[in-house]
Chain length 236, copies 2
């Protein structure tokens, strides 16, 4: 829970009977679901850069976990009476764009995307999960489960940075692109989608963050990213 | 069971105590395991060509199933006292080469690879599974499970061929590359690996196919491929 939001009202399961809140939750599950689906595809693609079968297996495990999350989210969307594919449709462009603009050029960049990119997404969803009812929160948090991939990536990145001076500068640059594109796409998604915006930002409902808290959240995401980059000895 | 091999002795579980047979089974599980691992990675990559989220999900399901097979094969290799990664190592080049040479250029070629490529591999493993003990056979057959992807791919291919005259010629060409590369890599793998060759081809053990049956098997694989291409109205 953030300081800013501690005294705000919290959503409960009964709120799902409110059409606006329900649409907002379905939209949130939709963007999460498409993120997990494309996360699966891109991590599996990035595993193509791995030269050893051990590393391929490690990334394949991460990818299949993302797909399991997708399946649980899709099931929940159906339980709420919506079609998963229709629900994901408004978000495909922004998520695809983020992956296209943050495409790693090699194995260390792929590791950086796991280490920093996944972490930005996880921080975002952890913040958002504070704003929703307990069942939706549980499912959102489940989608954040980490099978140890961030730690794995951090270890590999430390080794790669220690082994080659030139790697640090390139990774610092790629890290900046990851956070920049992530914040830009997240804000675009929310701004373009009234259902999602209505869930996350209080525009009269009495729930969600006010606009100041919403901007503070992005500052926290940026701070956490900076700390992660510095933990590898990289300038953020 | 093939006609040629019907009267040949069949392997039993106790044979796993024989070092030569055991090494052969471990090698077979190794090439199967690496095939499933890379199958996972490439199907996930090919799903990138899918334009709809529905098709992405369909291919993601196929891919995760391949990875589940990989995990079961790796577990069995460990049960037999070997390291999965060391066991896969002699086969990585041939399997990687097959995928590199049979890389689909677009969505219809990706579908063709699922339809024809997976089927060639499945036919091969089904033949080979006749030569091994029941537990190894069970595991090999499990790795051949089809979640409906061949039927899915066939349906999509029929639609694509009907919609565009030029597609048929290109797919016929790609199909020929798939079978040619598959047979070439399969023969190379067996020829280069004494343990696997010892398991599959009888060179004095009294088990396995004799050389004539071995060649007949490749003829059957080619015939089955031809029939599959003709089922789509394509020249093989």
């Amino acid at each position: 829970m953030t300081d800013d939001a501690r005294d705000r009202p919290v959503r409960v399961e009964q709120d799902l009977a409110e059409p606006g809140y329900r649409r907002g939750v379905i939209a949130l599950l939709g963007v999460l679901a498409y993120g997990e689906l494309v996360g699966f595809l891109t991590i599996a693609q990035e595993a193509g850069f791995a030269s050893s079968s051990q590393d391929k297996v490690t990334l394949a495990k991460v990818a299949t976990q993302e797909f399991a999350h997708y399946e649980r989210l899709a099931t929940r969307i159906e339980e709420l009476g919506a079609d998963p594919h229709q629900t994901m449709a408004p978000f495909t462009r922004a998520v695809d764009d983020w992956h296209r603009r943050a495409t790693p050029a090699d194995w260390v960049e792929a590791l950086m995307k796991v280490y920093a990119g996944n972490s930005i997404a996880n921080d975002f969803y952890r913040e958002v999960s504070e704003l929703v009812d307990p069942e939706t929160r549980r499912l959102t948090r489940e989608a954040l489960e980490d099978a140890g991939q961030v730690e794995f990536a951090a270890g590999e990145l430390r080794r790669a940075i220690a082994a080659d001076d030139k790697v640090a500068g390139r990774l610092a640059l790629f890290g900046r692109r990851l956070i920049g594109e992530a914040l830009s796409q997240a804000q675009r998604v929310a701004a373009e989608n009234d259902d999602l915006m209505g869930l996350l930002v209080d525009t009269g409902s009495g729930y969600g963050l006010d606009l100041r808290d919403w901007m503070h959240m992005f500052t926290r995401l940026t701070d956490a990213h900076t700390a992660r980059m510095e933990a590898l000895g990289l300038s953020a």
